[in-house]
Protein backbone atom coordinates (compact mmCIF):
# COMPACT_ATOMS: atom_id res chain seq x y z
CA UNK A 1 0.00 0.00 0.00
CA UNK A 2 1.30 3.44 -0.90
CA UNK A 3 -0.24 6.58 0.62
CA UNK A 4 1.33 9.93 -0.25
CA UNK A 5 0.42 13.52 0.49
CA UNK A 6 2.53 15.90 -1.59
CA UNK A 7 2.62 19.35 -3.13
CA UNK A 8 4.28 18.23 -6.37
CA UNK A 9 2.51 16.70 -9.37
CA UNK A 10 2.56 12.94 -10.06
CA UNK A 11 2.96 10.82 -13.17
CA UNK A 12 0.04 8.40 -13.21
CA UNK A 13 1.68 6.12 -15.79
CA UNK A 14 4.77 5.57 -13.67
CA UNK A 15 2.75 5.08 -10.49
CA UNK A 16 0.38 2.57 -12.10
CA UNK A 17 3.24 0.60 -13.62
CA UNK A 18 4.96 0.36 -10.23
CA UNK A 19 1.77 -0.97 -8.65
CA UNK A 20 1.96 -4.23 -10.58
CA UNK A 21 5.71 -4.35 -11.06
CA UNK A 22 6.85 -7.98 -10.71
CA UNK A 23 3.52 -9.06 -9.28
CA UNK A 24 2.25 -11.79 -11.57
CA UNK A 25 -1.12 -12.28 -9.88
CA UNK A 26 -2.29 -8.81 -10.97
CA UNK A 27 -4.79 -9.13 -13.81
CA UNK A 28 -6.48 -5.77 -13.51
CA UNK A 29 -5.67 -2.22 -12.45
CA UNK A 30 -8.34 0.46 -12.15
CA UNK A 31 -7.31 4.06 -11.55
CA UNK A 32 -9.05 7.35 -10.92
CA UNK A 33 -7.58 10.82 -11.38
CA UNK A 34 -9.30 13.91 -10.00
CA UNK A 35 -8.55 17.29 -11.62
CA UNK A 36 -9.24 20.91 -10.71
CA UNK A 37 -12.27 22.15 -12.68
CA UNK A 38 -12.49 25.72 -13.94
CA UNK A 39 -16.18 26.09 -13.03
CA UNK A 40 -17.72 25.25 -9.66
CA UNK A 41 -21.24 26.22 -8.56
CA UNK A 42 -21.54 28.50 -11.61
CA UNK A 43 -18.45 30.53 -10.76
CA UNK A 44 -15.12 30.70 -12.58
CA UNK A 45 -12.35 29.23 -10.45
CA UNK A 46 -8.89 30.74 -10.96
CA UNK A 47 -7.08 28.53 -8.43
CA UNK A 48 -7.66 26.37 -5.37
CA UNK A 49 -5.71 25.83 -2.17
CA UNK A 50 -5.89 22.44 -0.49
CA UNK A 51 -5.38 22.22 3.25
CA UNK A 52 -5.16 19.01 5.28
CA UNK A 53 -4.62 17.63 8.79
CA UNK A 54 -1.09 16.20 8.81
CA UNK A 55 -1.00 12.91 10.66
CA UNK A 56 -4.71 12.27 10.59
CA UNK A 57 -4.90 12.40 6.80
CA UNK A 58 -2.45 9.53 6.38
CA UNK A 59 -4.20 7.46 9.09
CA UNK A 60 -7.62 8.08 7.56
CA UNK A 61 -6.42 7.01 4.10
CA UNK A 62 -4.75 3.85 5.45
CA UNK A 63 -8.01 2.95 7.18
CA UNK A 64 -10.04 3.53 3.99
CA UNK A 65 -7.72 1.29 1.98
CA UNK A 66 -7.75 -1.34 4.76
CA UNK A 67 -11.56 -1.28 4.71
CA UNK A 68 -11.49 -1.81 0.95
CA UNK A 69 -9.07 -4.72 1.37
CA UNK A 70 -11.49 -6.31 3.84
CA UNK A 71 -14.29 -6.19 1.24
CA UNK A 72 -12.52 -7.06 -2.01
CA UNK A 73 -9.62 -9.22 -3.14
CA UNK A 74 -7.05 -6.46 -3.67
CA UNK A 75 -3.42 -7.19 -4.46
CA UNK A 76 -2.22 -3.62 -3.88
CA UNK A 77 -3.51 -0.05 -3.83
CA UNK A 78 -2.16 3.48 -3.90
CA UNK A 79 -3.47 6.92 -3.05
CA UNK A 80 -1.62 10.13 -3.92
CA UNK A 81 -3.26 13.41 -2.92
CA UNK A 82 -1.80 16.84 -3.55
CA UNK A 83 -1.98 19.81 -1.20
CA UNK A 84 -1.27 23.52 -1.57
CA UNK A 85 -2.00 25.79 -4.50
CA UNK A 86 -3.41 24.21 -7.70
CA UNK A 87 -4.63 25.65 -11.00
CA UNK A 88 -7.56 24.49 -13.14
CA UNK A 89 -6.72 21.33 -15.09
CA UNK A 90 -4.02 20.28 -12.60
CA UNK A 91 -4.19 16.79 -11.08
CA UNK A 92 -5.38 16.62 -7.46
CA UNK A 93 -5.67 12.94 -6.64
CA UNK A 94 -4.75 9.51 -7.96
CA UNK A 95 -6.29 6.30 -6.65
CA UNK A 96 -5.25 3.01 -8.23
CA UNK A 97 -6.19 -0.53 -7.25
CA UNK A 98 -4.62 -3.76 -8.52
CA UNK A 99 -6.43 -7.09 -8.28
CA UNK A 100 -6.57 -10.46 -10.01
CA UNK A 101 -9.94 -9.73 -11.64
CA UNK A 102 -11.45 -6.44 -12.82
CA UNK A 103 -14.63 -6.37 -10.68
CA UNK A 104 -12.67 -6.13 -7.41
CA UNK A 105 -10.50 -3.31 -8.75
CA UNK A 106 -13.45 -1.31 -10.17
CA UNK A 107 -15.48 -1.52 -6.96
CA UNK A 108 -12.58 -0.96 -4.57
CA UNK A 109 -11.35 2.09 -6.51
CA UNK A 110 -14.80 3.68 -6.37
CA UNK A 111 -15.18 2.81 -2.68
CA UNK A 112 -11.81 4.36 -1.79
CA UNK A 113 -12.64 7.53 -3.72
CA UNK A 114 -16.12 7.85 -2.15
CA UNK A 115 -14.68 7.50 1.37
CA UNK A 116 -11.77 9.83 0.61
CA UNK A 117 -14.29 12.53 -0.37
CA UNK A 118 -16.22 12.19 2.90
CA UNK A 119 -13.75 10.90 5.52
CA UNK A 120 -10.23 12.15 4.70
CA UNK A 121 -9.44 15.54 6.29
CA UNK A 122 -8.80 17.75 3.26
CA UNK A 123 -10.42 21.13 2.64
CA UNK A 124 -10.53 23.15 -0.58
CA UNK A 125 -10.60 26.90 -0.82
CA UNK A 126 -11.40 28.39 -4.22
CA UNK A 127 -10.23 31.68 -5.63
CA UNK A 128 -12.79 33.31 -7.92
CA UNK A 129 -10.72 36.19 -9.24
CA UNK A 130 -10.77 38.69 -6.36
CA UNK A 131 -12.96 36.63 -4.06
CA UNK A 132 -12.22 33.46 -2.09
CA UNK A 133 -14.56 30.86 -0.65
CA UNK A 134 -14.36 27.51 1.15
CA UNK A 135 -15.87 24.72 -0.91
CA UNK A 136 -19.00 23.24 0.68
CA UNK A 137 -19.35 19.50 1.11
CA UNK A 138 -21.95 17.88 -1.16
CA UNK A 139 -24.90 16.01 0.29
CA UNK A 140 -24.72 13.68 -2.73
CA UNK A 141 -21.28 12.49 -1.56
CA UNK A 142 -22.74 11.39 1.79
CA UNK A 143 -25.46 9.50 -0.07
CA UNK A 144 -22.79 7.51 -1.91
CA UNK A 145 -21.43 6.32 1.44
CA UNK A 146 -24.85 5.09 2.53
CA UNK A 147 -25.00 3.06 -0.65
CA UNK A 148 -21.77 1.21 0.33
CA UNK A 149 -23.09 0.62 3.83
CA UNK A 150 -26.30 -0.89 2.48
CA UNK A 151 -24.39 -3.12 0.06
CA UNK A 152 -22.48 -4.58 2.99
CA UNK A 153 -25.64 -5.84 4.76
Amino acid sequence: MKIKIQTEDFDAGTEIKQLSNGNLQVGAIVSFIGLVRDINDNAKVTEIVLEHYPGMTEKALVKIVDDARARWAIVDALVIHRIGRLLPNEQIVLVAVASAHRRDAFDACEFIMDYLKTHAPFWKKESLGEKERWVEAKVADEALIERWQQKKD
Binding site: G55, H81, K117, H119, W123, E136
Partner: protein
Protein backbone atom coordinates in the same frame (compact mmCIF):
# COMPACT_ATOMS: atom_id res chain seq x y z
CA UNK B 1 -3.17 19.92 29.02
CA UNK B 2 -5.08 19.22 25.85
CA UNK B 3 -4.20 20.37 22.34
CA UNK B 4 -6.95 21.82 20.19
CA UNK B 5 -6.57 22.22 16.43
CA UNK B 6 -8.77 24.26 14.11
CA UNK B 7 -8.90 23.74 10.36
CA UNK B 8 -10.16 25.53 7.25
CA UNK B 9 -13.11 27.89 7.93
CA UNK B 10 -12.73 27.50 11.70
CA UNK B 11 -9.01 28.32 11.65
CA UNK B 12 -9.67 31.49 9.66
CA UNK B 13 -12.71 32.69 11.57
CA UNK B 14 -11.20 31.98 15.00
CA UNK B 15 -7.84 33.46 14.01
CA UNK B 16 -5.77 30.51 15.22
CA UNK B 17 -4.65 27.08 14.09
CA UNK B 18 -3.92 25.48 17.45
CA UNK B 19 -3.66 26.01 21.19
CA UNK B 20 -2.75 24.18 24.36
CA UNK B 21 -5.25 24.37 27.15
CA UNK B 22 -5.58 23.06 30.68
CA UNK B 23 -8.65 20.82 30.47
CA UNK B 24 -11.42 22.72 32.31
CA UNK B 25 -12.58 20.62 35.28
CA UNK B 26 -16.22 20.47 34.13
CA UNK B 27 -15.34 19.33 30.59
CA UNK B 28 -15.51 15.56 30.19
CA UNK B 29 -16.55 15.15 26.57
CA UNK B 30 -16.42 16.94 23.21
CA UNK B 31 -19.89 18.42 23.54
CA UNK B 32 -18.94 20.05 26.86
CA UNK B 33 -15.77 21.42 25.27
CA UNK B 34 -17.82 22.83 22.38
CA UNK B 35 -20.13 24.64 24.83
CA UNK B 36 -17.13 25.89 26.80
CA UNK B 37 -15.46 27.29 23.67
CA UNK B 38 -18.69 29.01 22.59
CA UNK B 39 -18.40 31.33 25.58
CA UNK B 40 -15.18 32.91 24.34
CA UNK B 41 -16.84 35.60 22.23
CA UNK B 42 -18.75 36.34 19.06
CA UNK B 43 -16.68 34.40 16.52
CA UNK B 44 -16.50 31.39 18.88
CA UNK B 45 -20.22 31.52 19.53
CA UNK B 46 -20.91 31.65 15.79
CA UNK B 47 -18.55 28.84 14.77
CA UNK B 48 -19.40 26.46 17.59
CA UNK B 49 -23.14 26.73 17.17
CA UNK B 50 -22.94 25.71 13.51
CA UNK B 51 -24.32 22.21 13.20
CA UNK B 52 -21.99 21.12 10.42
CA UNK B 53 -18.81 21.02 12.53
CA UNK B 54 -16.93 17.75 12.78
CA UNK B 55 -14.53 16.62 15.46
CA UNK B 56 -11.60 14.24 15.75
CA UNK B 57 -10.02 13.06 19.00
CA UNK B 58 -6.45 11.81 18.65
CA UNK B 59 -6.84 11.92 14.86
CA UNK B 60 -9.97 9.78 14.64
CA UNK B 61 -13.37 11.18 13.75
CA UNK B 62 -15.76 10.80 16.68
CA UNK B 63 -19.23 11.87 17.76
CA UNK B 64 -19.72 14.80 20.13
CA UNK B 65 -20.43 12.50 23.08
CA UNK B 66 -16.84 11.13 22.88
CA UNK B 67 -14.92 11.38 26.15
CA UNK B 68 -11.83 13.57 26.38
CA UNK B 69 -8.97 13.40 28.84
CA UNK B 70 -5.65 15.04 29.59
CA UNK B 71 -3.09 14.91 26.73
CA UNK B 72 -5.73 14.37 24.04
CA UNK B 73 -5.47 16.10 20.66
CA UNK B 74 -8.87 17.44 19.65
CA UNK B 75 -9.52 18.89 16.19
CA UNK B 76 -12.56 20.85 15.03
CA UNK B 77 -13.27 21.34 11.33
CA UNK B 78 -16.00 21.76 8.70
CA UNK B 79 -17.10 18.81 6.51
CA UNK B 80 -14.19 17.61 4.40
CA UNK B 81 -13.91 18.53 0.70
CA UNK B 82 -10.87 16.73 -0.72
CA UNK B 83 -10.53 14.60 -3.83
Amino acid sequence: MITILYFARLRENLGQASENLALPSNVKNVEQLRLWLQQRGDAWQREFTKNDIRVAVNQEMVKFNAQIKDDDEIAFFPPVTGG
